[in-house]
Symmetry: C2
Subunit: 435 residues, 2 copies
């Protein structure tokens, strides 16, 4: 069996990877400095543990380095030379140029290097749909194995060079996130009341503010470490600074043509404007449509799902305000933030009731003309509101049943006792005698 | 009848306002320099026209100034003194401090001033839900009339001072839009392939890019005029520039604590982080959910609505790619951009078919046990897929019908002839004889 060592596998993404691979049946060994933690975690996720990195590197077929960015270079220099011929060395650092080159430089003879950047955090449940960037310098047999493994997990794989990866990330994480944090800090410094400013604003401004808030609410230490470790980010910051100042001076100096030219040029460079407008329109309307749907549901039953906890609240929509709503169930009222709930569709609400309301089973026997088809009757009963399921228990045409007639017995399951009346109304409505 | 002059009413927002007021029954006069245009437009929108601004100002009960920002001060100085006592002077300029003060300074004795900023463009259809800012200095009788008029149109009215309005707008339109344009211009200058960068990115980055694209695609002349006309914007630009540079230097100098402190402070200032995260999560998931729904519909019938044209496409979903999909109808295939269509719900699709497919009417007579209730039968038929409507035409229990039975004749409307078989299957299934 393939032996995999995850260096720094006791927490964060390393721990996630170790657990994932152990569940896939690999023989996984994690390392980490704190022995108490290491033993606890390894027990919990089903791996081995050692605090001896060298031992792990020397004895494994695959070594995955998952330590903080600033510690990565020294760990590579220390462990790469110890690895055995025919083994695979990987890292998961979010900046690729330095680690990729160091791994190739220091890896022992016969060791294959496949640098990677998994673009997700340890909160995901599977690799399905997640992006993993690989920056291998050779098309070796380990690379093929890693690729096929990821492909089988339905991962979105990007193969590129460390340089292209880092340049792209200098924009993706470096520039945009940094500019957004700067906008938030500027609003803070200008002492503008953000809540008040939303009143003046269009839906797109509100979405912009929400995105700025989201980025600014990230772990600042993580943002700092990304900003400092990618060498292309400095260039992006400087270029942004120059560009902003040039545009600012055009405004200050009244250079209309200069500004219009620069802005038009920037717009031209954008990949597919029509799609961008379409997607942002949809994102905005998704938010306003929800309010419109709720407006029509005041006084009626509504099912709402909390977007984080997943908890479902079902009740009568008593009150709808711009920021919250009040749901009434029996004698208690629940106040919910509009931004944190989504509306269940009729089907989702019915499914939820089926899973959460007590289900009761009822039998009914009715006399039909003898040409009746029990399957059609059962399908029609199943379609009634409040009925979960129905089946034919018995058909009977004996001495107690009038000539030319048949008795059909149905068993049906309801989550709402009103449905019993609906079933009876249906059968009687078609002229059947309930026995 | 109230006579309203719209100065600059031959195009843009002025034209929209003139048309809207004329449709509401007011006696509207528009002005504009180009006589040919003016006569054409006034005919089209049902107003009077003159190229003589002074004449319009002297003879109207209400004067609304809707000329480009840079022309507004001189027009105010020219027309405000000519107005008759008891009349109302308004403007619709997007920067309020200068125009509000000039209108009050230059208005003739007995003229009431109500400065306004309608926060929408001329493409809207009604005032319902739109934001209009009013910055009156007195609580006069015209102000009350304007307020009530807007309230009746379901407008969201914000009453504030010109100074607060302009300070808020310096952030809403001034800073954020300007920073976004700067980001786009920086990406352009760094020669990063935006399309390529999306591959590396999370859904939130893609939404950020879409928003940046949207802002950068605005009319650059309009952006320039807003940036230059609000005096608070200069301060916002300078403060942003300082803030960005301080943060940038913290990164360059390795000042981790300084950066973390600044970023945390900015995050604290944001009004309601939890709601912001909730809304942006919803916006993102609205986009990905749609793809997930479509994945399950490949090979099946789907209804899609183009988000701009409103055109509905119904067909079999033949192919689904990250950026487009192919819909097959009869023998032709239609390729549609995923970003520009939204999926119809089952109910919307049925409604669309009812309105667009040829409807056919059918009659059916069936023999039921005499206790049958025609209303229950008709309601059950109405619930069948493909049936639009149904009604009871006749009930009959005479010589041609067996003893103890009743004949019910239904008329029903279908958009799909398969529904005829469904109706017959239902009736026969309950043991009824079709005549």
């Amino acid at each position: 069996m393939v032996k995999i060592a995850v260096i720094g596998g006791t927490r964060g993404l390393g721990r996630w990877i170790a657990k994932f691979l152990a569940e896939k049946g690999f023989d996984v060994l994690i390392t980490g400095r704190n022995v108490t933690d290491g033993e606890l975690v390894s027990k919990k996720i089903g791996t081995g543990y050692t605090n001896n990195n060298s031992l792990a590197a020397e004895t494994s077929d695959v070594v995955i380095i998952s330590v903080p960015i600033h510690a990565t270079p020294n760990i590579i220099k220390e462990l790469a030379p110890l690895m055995k011929p025919g083994s695979l060395l990987m890292d998961v650092t979010s900046v690729k140029e330095e680690s990729s080159h160091l791994m190739e430089q220091y890896a022992a003879e016969g060791v294959e290097v496949v640098p990677s950047h998994p673009m997700f955090g340890p909160r995901i449940r599977s690799l399905d749909g997640q992006v993993v960037v690989l920056t291998p310098s050779v098309d070796g047999s380990w690379y093929t194995k890693v690729y096929k493994f990821l492909e089988h997990e339905n991962t979105r794989i990007i193969v590129t060079t460390p340089e292209i990866h880092d340049r792209m990330m200098s924009i993706v994480q470096g520039l945009t996130h940094f500019a957004y944090v700067s906008i938030a800090a500027t609003i803070d410094r200008l002492d503008i009341d953000i809540k008040e400013s939303r009143k003046f604003a269009s839906p797109i401004y509100n979405l912009m503010l929400d995105t700025i808030a989201r980025i600014t609410a990230q772990n600042p230490y993580l943002v700092y470490s990304i900003q400092t470790s990618n060498k292309y980010i400095k260039d992006a910051h400087e270029t942004f600074n120059e560009t902003f100042n040039e545009l600012k001076n055009m405004i200050a100096d009244g250079d209309e043509e200069g500004f219009v030219h620069a802005m038009s040029n920037a717009a031209k460079h954008i990949d597919d404007l029509e799609s961008a407008l379409g997607r942002s329109d949809k994102a905005i309307s998704a938010l306003s449509e929800e309010v419109n749907i709720l407006k029509n549901l005041v006084g009626r039953e509504v099912g709402l799902k909390h977007i984080y906890s997943g908890k479902v609240h079902v009740g009568m929509l008593e009150e709808l305000k711009p920021e919250f709503l009040v749901l009434k169930l029996n004698n208690s009222s629940t106040k919910l933030k509009l931004s944190n709930v989504e509306i269940l569709t009729d089907k989702e609400l019915k499914d939820w009731k089926i899973n959460n309301y007590p289900l009761r089973s009822y039998d009914v026997s009715a006399v039909f003309p003898e040409s009746a088809d029990p399957e059609v009757v059962v399908a029609t009963v199943q379609g009634l509101e409040g009925v979960v399921d129905a089946e034919v228990m018995d058909t009977y045409s004996g001495s107690q049943i009038p000539e030319g007639s048949i008795s059909i017995t149905l068993r049906y399951l309801v989550f709402d006792d009103d449905a019993v009346l609906e079933v009876e109304k249906l059968l009687k409505g078609f002229g059947c005698q309930i026995r």
